[in-house]
């Protein structure tokens, strides 16, 4: 009943995006900490490497993961606290996917030209 249906995919995506964001966060705090070496330290050299297009695409994936994880987290909270949420969990999941896409489109329009112009 649960396996292979929408509920399971919702869970798998929530896990994957959550683990990805958490690992990104650990790396991100370390890279920002390089500013402690000052203006002549390694920060700018390190970031030049980060500005290459594969990493910029990685950032888009991080943002997509954040949007999905946040919206699906709301869906989980609604399911925890109302029987209404459980009844409509499948529809709510499609709503989560639609909203993630809807937020994603303007972000892509903003970021993709920047990536094409750079690197």
């Amino acid at each position: 009943m649960y396996r292979g249906r929408e509920g399971q995919w919702a869970f798998v995506l929530h896990r994957l995006s959550g683990v990805a964001i958490a690992l990104y966060l650990l790396l991100h705090v370390v890279d920002i900490s390089l500013v402690m070496y000052g203006p002549d330290g390694p920060f700018d050299r390190f970031l030049a490497f980060y500005h290459k297009w594969p990493f910029r695409i990685g950032l888009i994936l991080v943002m997509a993961g954040v949007a999905y994880h946040a919206l699906n987290g709301l869906r989980i909270i609604v399911m925890d606290f109302s029987s209404w949420g459980v009844r409509y969990q499948r529809i709510l999941w499609y709503l989560v996917l639609s909203l993630t896409t809807l937020i994603g489109i303007p972000v892509l329009f903003k970021v993709v030209p920047e990536i094409l112009a750079g690197s």
Binding site: G18, A22, V29, S33, F43, L47, L59
Partner: protein, 141 residues
């Protein structure tokens, strides 16, 4: 749950369960706060500016503002707790052997603590004001 623990084993079980409830609530409350904190953060640093332009001067100009330090402190603290507890859930789910599970958690918590301290130092142990006025003229400055 009216039955009180009669053995150490049961007491341990009860103790663990209560903490799990605390974390369960925390994940939901912090999750709600993080929606605003993280969306705001992504808006400032990847929508309002071109993330490809971020350099030392940009970060120094951000960190020379007190509200950014306070904002980032909440972001750092809540995201770390929420994220590391989420990673712990995965460790509990996928690493079955008790010894391996224990050491995986020791490794995770050690790395997270070191990185957390590094993040707090970045925000509070250094002043970026000496970068001067020029910096405030920069985009996002």
């Amino acid at each position: 749950m009216a039955v009180r623990a009669r053995t150490l084993e049961q007491a341990r079980e009860l103790y663990r369960t209560n903490w799990e409830l605390v974390w369960w609530v925390f994940m939901r409350v912090s999750g709600l706060a993080l929606i605003f904190l993280v969306f705001g953060h992504l808006f400032f640093n990847n929508i309002q500016v071109n993330a490809g332009d971020i350099d030392y001067d940009y970060v120094a100009s951000r960190f020379s503002r007190s509200w950014v330090k306070v904002y980032d402190s909440f972001l750092l603290g809540l995201a770390m707790l929420h994220g590391v507890n989420g990673l712990r859930y995965s460790v509990e789910d996928y690493i079955k052997r008790p010894a391996r599970r224990f050491w995986a958690k020791v490794g995770l918590f050690t790395a997270a603590s070191v990185i957390f301290v590094l993040g707090v130092m970045t925000l509070w142990a250094f002043t970026y004001e000496e970068m001067g006025e020029a910096i405030r003229a920069l985009p996002g400055g």
